[in-house]
């Protein structure tokens, strides 16, 4: 009897020990984020003291060889290229999402979703290769007078838009699917057609989720390195006029990737690049916070609130309400000024643009105050304390008029900007007015047409857009496969490179990629699965847990180039590993860590609690339950997550560019302190060098694609197999 009770007690003591052990391991994720921020901040201080933050941010010439580090053109480059990508991706992405969610027959829904997931899995260096070999020549032939070389902002935005599509499609589709059926049913019950329901009820209801999708897509575009570097032209200039999409442009990520190879560690140039990475991180963080608060607001609206206030909500809840409203108003005024200033600066010089900015802001504030006064005279007493309250006061008819005026103004502006690149100013203005007139005429005619015909037209348009998206994907893959497959032979796959890597076989690259996969998984799997277990089973809602979750979110959003920079400064330089396999493996492992943590956590959470309760009721400790009951039940999703991470690791270039790769190696070394060849970097090197036949480049791309895509297929097969086995 006594022996039994002692044994039971000690088993449950060990459970507490296990919990703290797991907390320790989960804390590793937090410390990684801390170290990344530390290294990046620490290394950028040199630039901040040498040149001064103001000169760095507002200087307009970036010429390191003459000690000029003006980052304004580069930061503008990131903003412009992202804006263009969003303009391209949002219409196509949201249309495709609406098609998948509302129009497509249910049978095709999963097929279409899988197709967009494949889009997401294609490595960015492949997109860059496609851009370099197909898109850029195409643009050059289409606009011979404007694009002497084809490399341009336009090429970069189109490519980034294609890459942001999967994110936008999948998150929007989720948002549309989350709209309760009752909304649709109520609308149809009142006699609306399916299309009218979709466009006037469902989409507005899902608008928060769609905005979150757009913001997440922006985050993806901002952090993208390889593809944009290969097609943007890489001139650090601000286009003139600012909407000249044919101009060459250089975003932050491309600057870091292009110049890192030749900076001397510790120099001002080195530090300036880290400062750029810092700015990038801040942008990405802002986006992540914005999207999370939007998603939370959506969840609350539809009743799925998780009682987990976002960081921003928490901060706001603690402040006095006057301060919050005051700052909201201040932001609104500042935003008004900024928008009118930015629009004006496209046409006028800064002084007049500022004048216009101030006049517009003053006019808006004055007219709102006058209008509020007139309401008071009518006896309606309103005291809006913040911009949102103010907007609520405006009658719906007025809001409608404003909305219409805004639509027309935007339409005219965009047509003007596009046309003025080809013809002179007056023609452009005429074109803008003409398009607006045509649009107005169309709206009037459509009002009279039978709503079922409108539905047919709308559905057909959506189908065309969806087909176009699929066509893009198929074209990219086919183009690469057709040129590359003939070159793939046993000799190619097992032979060694010749002629400084531009001919011969790619065996070392394949082996290098495999080694990177194994190494990064060795680091990410134990850490990730254990942290996932901690978050799913042991974590309570404490500040520690919230810190862990926030750290993982930050890691998840960090661009791959920032990981590369961190890996280089930490493992190559600081720890002295030099360019080595181990540096690459650690960097890649850290990069996929958040994915593994998240998939494990979700997989474990999906296991119903009855299983745990049954096991504990039989006397098992929490750890025994987790390891012997819950984990095996969730193993399918965990494996799927692992396989998808392997696909990601195989395709990433930026993290290994400064940590582990070389382009030419005549023998495979066995030391983890030696660098390796890797498929994605080999493709990048061959494609940008322009040497080695284009067939050889396509062949390397084909091998890489086959590896990545087969990981995808494997993941789906595994998921399917384990889904069948679920017994609850």
């Amino acid at each position: 009897m006594e022996a039994e009770s002692i044994r039971t007690e000690s088993r449950f003591h060990s459970d507490t020990v296990t919990k703290y052990l797991l907390m320790g391991i989960a804390a590793v994720a937090v410390s990684i984020v801390f170290f990344i921020i530390l290294f990046i901040l620490g290394n950028s201080i040199g630039a901040m003291t040498d040149t001064g933050i103001r000169d760095l941010l507002t200087g307009s010439r970036w010429l390191p060889s003459k000690d000029l580090y003006g980052m304004l053109p580069i930061i503008t480059g990131t903003l412009l290229v992202t804006a263009g990508a969003i303009l391209f991706a949002v219409p196509i992405g949201v249309a495709a999402a609406i098609f998948i969610s509302e129009v497509a027959p249910p049978r095709f829904r999963s097929v279409l979703k899988s197709i967009s997931e494949v889009f997401a899995g294609i490595p960015s260096v492949i997109y860059g290769f496609f851009g370099l070999t197909v898109l850029v020549p195409l643009l050059r032939d289409t606009f011979p007078n404007h694009l002497l070389m084809g490399n341009s902002w336009l090429a970069g935005s189109i490519l980034l838009g294609i890459m942001a599509l999967p994110t936008i499609i999948s998150v929007s589709e989720d948002a549309l699917g989350a709209v309760p059926r009752s909304y649709r049913e109520a609308s149809m019950a009142m006699g609306a057609t399916k299309w009218e329901t979709t466009i006037k009820v469902v989409t507005p209801a899902a608008i928060s989720g769609i905005s979150a999708a757009v913001i997440l897509g922006m985050g993806r575009a901002i952090g993208e390195t390889m593809a944009v570097m290969m097609v943007c032209g890489n001139s650090a200039i601000i286009p003139d006029p600012i909407f000249d999409v044919f101009s060459r442009i250089r975003p932050i990520t491309a600057t870091i990737a292009l110049e890192m190879p030749y900076v001397v560690v510790g120099s001002t140039h080195y530090s300036a690049l880290f400062f750029l990475a810092l700015i990038l991180m801040i942008m990405v963080l802002a986006i992540s916070i914005a999207s999370k608060s939007i998603v939370n607001r959506t969840r609350k609206k539809f009743g799925e609130a998780e009682n987990r206030p976002s960081l921003v909500d928490l901060m706001i809840a603690k402040l006095p309400i006057r301060l919050v409203n005051g700052s909201k108003s201040a932001f609104a005024v500042a935003g008004l000024f900024l928008i009118s200033y930015l629009i004006a600066i496209a046409f006028l010089n800064p002084f007049w643009a500022a004048v216009i900015g101030i006049s517009v802001t003053v006019a808006v504030i004055a007219s709102s105050l006058l209008w509020l006064n007139s309401l008071k005279k009518k006896g309606i007493s309103v005291r809006p304390r913040s911009p949102s309250e103010f907007i609520d006061c405006i009658p719906i008819k007025t809001k409608d008029i404003f909305r219409r005026i805004l639509t027309y103004l935007l339409m005219i502006a965009f047509v003007y900007m596009g046309t003025s690149l080809f013809y002179d100013g007056t023609v452009a203005v005429m074109a803008g007015l003409a398009v607006a007139a045509v649009y107005a005429a169309l709206m009037l005619t459509f009002r009279g047409i039978d709503s079922r015909i409108i539905q047919k037209i709308a559905h057909t348009v959506l189908l065309v857009v969806m087909a176009f998206a699929i066509f893009l994907l198929v074209y990219i893959l086919a183009d690469i496969f057709i040129e590359g497959l003939p070159l793939i032979s046993w000799d190619f796959l097992t032979g060694y490179p010749k002629d400084a890597g531009r001919a011969g076989g790619i065996y070392p690259a394949i082996v290098g990629t495999l080694k990177l996969i194994v190494g990064s998984m060795a680091i990410a799997l134990p850490l990730g699965i254990v942290t996932g277990i901690f978050l799913a089973e042991y974590a309570k809602d404490t500040p520690f847990t919230r810190t862990v979750r926030n750290s993982i979110d930050i890691l998840n959003g960090t661009p791959s180039i920032v990981f590369g920079l961190f890996g280089m400064s930490a493992f190559v330089v600081y720890f002295g590993f030099g360019y080595s396999l181990i540096a690459g493996c650690i960097t890649l492992g850290l990069m996929v860590l958040p994915v593994i943590i998240r998939t494990t956590e979700e997989a474990l959470k999906a296991v119903p609690k009855e299983l745990r309760e049954g096991s504990m009721a039989m006397g098992a400790t929490k750890w025994e339950t987790t390891v012997k009951v819950v984990l095996p039940a969730a193993i399918g999703s965990v494996i799927t997550g692992v396989i998808l991470s392997i696909g990601r690791v195989a395709g990433e270039t930026a993290p290994i560019m400064f940590t582990a790769v070389i382009v030419y190696q005549r023998a495979i070394s066995h030391s983890i302190l030696d660098p390796v060849m890797a498929l994605p970097y080999q493709l990048f090197y061959l494609a940008t060098e322009g040497m080695g036949s284009s067939a050889m480049q396509s062949a390397v791309a084909t091998v890489l694609l086959i590896i990545v895509l087969s990981m995808f297929v494997l993941a789906s097969v595994v998921r399917h197999y384990f889904d069948k086995r679920i017994k609850w």
């Binding site: 010439r61 002497l148 070389m149 001397v264 360019y579 382009v663 005549r666 660098p675 090197y685 040497m691």
Partner: protein, 285 residues
């Protein structure tokens, strides 16, 4: 199949995959010798193909392995200073700052920088001043200098390029107002420059003599009436020329010194000549 059989099967499959993977990782080394030395090299894309030739020939009778990456002359110097390469390749002489950091140069060959133009340019000779004006954006149409009408698409190399360094220095010497506009198309390597000029019939650019063999539709032009040939570089008439050097931290020693001596020997120099460069020591016959 019951659960036990499935488990055994899964373990067996995993074991086979692991063993296969280890086999793959362990074998297949073409000339790998665990007791050999590994030297890492980085730098100029001009010298890169030559280094590849060196590697194939040198490794035949030694057990030294070379691990090569590009990046440009600036990257070569930085890699040696940062300690990530055993020696660097540069297509220019060392700059003051690099010498101050302790780098020492070994000249292995001389090279010329050829000015290349696209197929529709219609010129075969230009003066240094005309070239400088083109790159400064002052001359914008081929017709202005006697060619076929067409907008000139200017291409330059990246900031850290040794080829660019040589070109800019000579241009600045020939035309005091030489200043490259900020929005000129920049390419990152010799190969990329070839692609750029080949791909656009009205383009202009500059490459090393060693890359001239890769041109198909683009052509090189003579400068001030002097053709881009190795003889003209040797005689000194062709002004766009520079040293190809290998940079080490301090004087070379050990396996690096042995390698350098071989490069400066008859066989190594012959390979340089074969690649289109100019030898600096006697060549094997």
């Amino acid at each position: 199949m019951n659960e036990n059989t499935k488990l055994i099967l899964a373990v067996a499959v995993t074991a086979i995959v692991c063993i296969a993977g280890t086999y793959v990782a362990m074998t297949g080394s073409d000339g790998d010798d665990p007791s050999g030395t590994t030297l890492s090299v980085a730098g100029s894309t001009t010298v890169l193909p030559l280094m590849g030739l060196y590697q194939e020939n040198y490794e035949k009778y030694t057990n030294v392995t070379l691990e090569v990456s590009g990046g440009g002359s600036g990257a070569g110097a930085s890699a040696v200073i940062n300690g990530t390469a055993s020696f660097g390749m540069l297509s220019r002489d060392l700059k003051g700052g690099e010498i101050d950091s302790g780098l020492k140069a070994t000249v292995i060959a001389k090279d010329g920088v050829a000015v290349i133009v696209g197929a529709n340019a219609g010129v075969t000779d230009l003066t240094l001043e005309q070239i400088a004006k083109i790159f400064s954006g002052e001359i914008t149409n081929w017709a202005d200098i006697g060619g076929t009408s067409g907008a000139i698409a200017v291409n330059i190399r990246e900031d850290g390029s040794g080829t660019r360094d040589c070109f800019d220095t000579v241009m600045k010497g020939a035309y005091a107002a030489y200043d490259i506009p900020a929005d000129t198309n920049e390419v990152g390597s010799t190969g990329a420059m070839v692609t750029a000029v080949e791909g656009n019939p009205t383009a202009i650019g500059y490459i090393s003599f060693g890359a001239l063999g890769n041109l198909t539709t683009a052509t090189d032009i003579s400068v001030n009436g002097i053709a881009a040939t190795t003889d003209n570089v040797v005689s000194g008439d062709y002004e766009l020329q520079r040293n190809l050097i290998l940079a080490t931290m301090g004087d070379p020693s050990g396996p690096v010194l042995d390698f350098f001596n071989w490069i400066l020997g008859p066989q190594g120099q012959q390979l340089a000549v074969k690649s289109g460069f100019i030898a600096v020591k006697p060549v094997a016959v």
